[in-house]
């Protein structure tokens, strides 16, 4: 009964380093999303995907990249980390375009 699994849960990066946040879902959902959550700001959409091989930018895509080679996986790549990318990142999936979002437990990233 895994649902949406994110790794790692915590990570500290130095400015300029790169890393990939992993996200996997076992519900066979076509739609997957990456959000970031900053204090007092709710969740902002970074990238989303409507199916394998199809991705598109959300509200705050700068500094990030994604790929969707399979239905199950939707990794988020941070290139040249900056302090402004310090945040909690949530991956989510849904069965339909207007359906319930199922979220992972989040990945807390600190860039120093």
């Amino acid at each position: 009964n895994a649902g949406v699994t994110q790794t790692p849960k915590f990570r500290i990066l130095k400015i300029g380093q790169s890393m990939t946040l992993q996200c996997a879902q076992d519900m066979n959902h076509n739609y997957m999303y990456w959000y970031r959550q900053d204090p007092g700001m709710g969740l902002k959409l970074i990238y989303y995907s409507v199916g394998a091989g199809i991705t598109d930018k959300g509200e705050v895509p700068n500094g990030y990249n994604v790929s969707r080679s399979t239905t199950e996986d939707f990794p988020l790549r941070l290139e040249l980390a900056a302090p402004s990318q310090t945040s909690v990142y949530f991956c989510a999936s849904s069965y339909s375009s207007a359906g319930e979002l199922f979220f992972g437990e989040g990945s807390r990233l600190t860039v120093l």
């Binding site: 709710g42 969740l43 959409l45 409507v50 989510a92 339909s96 319930e100």
Partner: protein, 112 residues
């Protein structure tokens, strides 16, 4: 500027009190969802409303979608410490393919 404005941002009340959280926008939404998030976890869906004027009840929680589909409210009757958490409203507009726009959230603390 937040597309969805939630108020209040913080709410601290005693067990047994009633409360209302508001979610307002100048834009029309095709559907609106309410999520609850606990520390260290991802948001979990409470309800989805899709019809203007719709009222849904979930035990002590009552959700309402405005007639013009621009606003929503969450009312909790006789709050309990277990209701403590971050409450988020999120809306979908037109053909946004599931790209939810989130409010900034309301942090509710219910004291025993």
């Amino acid at each position: 500027t937040q597309l969805l404005e939630q108020s209040p941002q913080f709410l601290s009340i005693q067990e047994g009190e009633n409360l209302t959280v508001y979610c307002n926008s100048s834009s029309v939404f095709s559907s609106l969802q309410w999520y609850r998030q606990e520390p260290g976890e991802g948001p979990v869906l409470l309800v989805t409303v899709v019809t203007g004027g719709e009222v849904k009840k979930l035990k002590r929680l009552t959700f309402q979608f405005g007639d013009a589909r621009k606003d929503s409210s969450l009312h909790i009757t006789a709050a309990q410490p277990g209701d403590t958490g971050l409450y988020l409203c999120a809306g979908t507009r037109g053909t946004s393919y599931g790209k939810l726009t989130f409010g900034q959230g309301t942090i509710l603390t219910v004291h025993p």
